[in-house]
């Protein structure tokens, strides 16, 4: 038996291809939206992977350090190192800001880490060029997405840093590339006041008789010195010893150190379930709207194509073609249109995904799901046209 749908598509291939391309671009946008969501989730996971931690120790009653602000004294890590099952513990700070290089600036997450080699919690796990931070000040390792190059000098607040290493896929949960600098510099950058503010604060302190006692020399200097430093970090990243279960290590820290401790699973829940939940719902709404628009377009196109063939359908019915054959022809055409659209959409999404400023992750599973969705939508969209075709009276083929 001849494939009526296939022959019709081949006969008016231009109409089908151009319509399929239009539909395909819409499907491409839909796949990209799904890719944006997957990219956000992947960014969140990459952030956790790259921190190299098994546990995140943060301020009590906070969801820090990524979803909420968290402040800990920078000497707390010493006590944590003594807890059972703790292998390594390192302070870390996170600060999202504009990092300048020459005339341009880049939105980045500045991460303050304790200088050391790979494997140390908080350090970039691997470099694609250069070396790790080895000095206590004014060196930086940057993600290549910042656009900075080895040897360039970048400015964070009032200090300049030499780029000594390049890394890749080190991003915040918001997709901003990371810039790693020594912890002390990051602490300073986080709470750095301008010179006028410092002068005003010193004047206020000196004006306070409790701090400026004539009989206690050196008290004012000590107070001013304490106000000029930042003894806080955002979190302590902990690696547990082999053989220990993270939750079992976390529990004593919570109880005895009176701090909040999150395991990897809990951190993922915070990042994906809370930090990007609203964005995910937003994307979900877009996906629903795009699916409805795609269905409406396919329905309209197939309906219009069917109305254009009313006379042929009447003749087919008159000469004894079964209704199921005619319905099958329309259904196959709708599915054919969907397939053309999906192929075009997949190719388009693959080509334009790398151009997006944030990471777009196109997963094969999503593509398969999208393909099934397109076929279902096309099948549903063809119902209107099939109804119209089945209503055609074979008598229309005969004049009168």
């Amino acid at each position: 038996m001849i494939s009526l749908a296939g022959r019709d598509i081949l006969h008016s291939w231009g109409k089908f291809v151009f319509t399929g391309v239009g539909l395909g671009l819409l499907i491409g946008v839909t796949l990209t939206m799904a890719g944006v969501y997957r990219g956000m989730v992947d960014d969140a996971k990459v952030l956790l992977d790259n921190s190299g931690a098994d546990l995140w120790v943060v301020q009590q009653d906070t969801l820090g350090p990524y979803a909420e602000p968290s402040s800990l004294y920078d000497d707390i890590y010493r006590g944590i190192l003594g807890m059972p099952g703790v292998d390594r513990a390192a302070n870390v700070t996170y600060l999202t800001m504009q990092v300048r290089q020459g005339e341009r600036d880049v939105r980045a997450m500045v991460v303050g880490v304790v200088p050391g080699g790979p494997g140390e919690p908080g350090q970039p796990g691997y470099l694609i060029a250069g070396r790790q931070i080895t000095r206590g000040h004014y060196e930086a390792v940057v993600d290549i997405a910042t656009g900075f190059k080895l040897g360039e000098r970048i400015q964070i607040r009032r200090n300049h840093y030499a780029v000594v290493g390049l890394t890749r896929r080190m991003v915040s949960s918001g997709g901003d590339p990371m810039v790693f600098i020594p912890l002390k510099d990051a602490q300073e950058a986080q709470f750095l006041k301008d010179n006028d503010a410092i002068a005003r604060q010193r004047r206020r302190t000196a004006g306070n008789p409790a701090f400026n006692r004539p009989g206690t020399p050196g008290l004012l200097d000590a107070v001013i010195a304490s106000q000029s430093i930042n003894p806080y970090v955002n979190a302590v990243l902990v690696q547990v010893k082999p053989g220990f279960i993270p939750e079992e290590v976390a529990e004593p820290i919570r109880r005895w150190k009176r701090l909040q401790v999150y395991t990897r699973v809990q951190m993922e829940e915070i990042l994906i379930g809370k930090l990007i939940a609203t964005a995910a719902k937003q994307i979900g709404m877009f996906l629903v709207i795009l699916a409805i628009v795609s269905a409406a377009i396919v329905a309209f196109i197939i309906y219009t194509l069917t109305l254009g063939k009313i006379r042929e359908i009447a003749v087919l019915k008159l000469i004894g073609t079964r209704n199921s054959t005619i319905a099958g022809m329309i259904l196959k055409q709708a599915l054919g249109l969907g397939m053309i659209g999906f192929v075009v959409g997949k190719i388009a999404a693959t080509f334009w995904a790398p151009i997006f400023p944030k990471y777009v992750l196109l997963e094969p599973g999503d593509a398969l799901l999208g393909f099934a969705g397109v076929l279902v939508i096309c099948a549903l969209a063809s119902v209107l046209a099939i109804r119209a075709a089945l209503k055609v009276d074979p008598a229309e083929a005969i004049g009168g």
Binding site: L318, A397, I398, G399
Partner: protein, 236 residues
Amino acid sequence: MLGKGIRIEGLRKRYGKGDTAVDALKGVDMQVAPGEAVGLIGPSGSGKSTLLKCLGAVIEPTAGRMTLGEEVIYDNAWKMPDLRALRRDKIGFVFQAPYLIPFLDVTDNVALLPMLAGRSNAESRNRAMGLLEALDVAHRAKAMPSQLSGGEQQRVSIARALVNRPPVILADEPTAPLDSERALAVIRILNQMALQYETAIIVVTHDEKIIPTFKRIYHIRDGKTQEEAGEGRAFE
């Protein structure tokens, strides 16, 4: 069944109900023998199209009897269960415009019917080619309908009507879009095919050029038919 022709007796068709009811056919009698081509003529609104639709099993008559060979199609309130299969296997249609399927080539336009009837592709195409050769359009077998002339299209539509070797062919103004020469050629072909395949052919026409070619003519007026002898000019 072949060789018995088509016969209708007291065929009536009423549209609507009550005060708005219209009697389009008021007891039509007609008989066409196998191998015979008859003309059906009449003014607009006389019931030609309604009669053609009843004959084509497209609409059901209100009353009357219709037989095709020895098979009863309608008998007052009774009708044959599968009229779609009847149309496919036992009635051929030729229209005013050829109405070929635009996305099928000439061979497949003709071969589609036997394929729909469950015959193999090879057998269907062989049958189609045989008819296309008989109708002198085999050289356009791979052409699309849009590439054919009006006369060629009409010959292909005749091949399509004949391909399942139906006992009856209904032709609705088949020569209307053609000039005199081509119109006569089409009627000559229809008559040849009627004889060759023992098919009863009913041709609805207004065309003054072809009316003299029929040996028998049915005049339909106000829903009733009247039989007349024709000149049978072209085929002597």
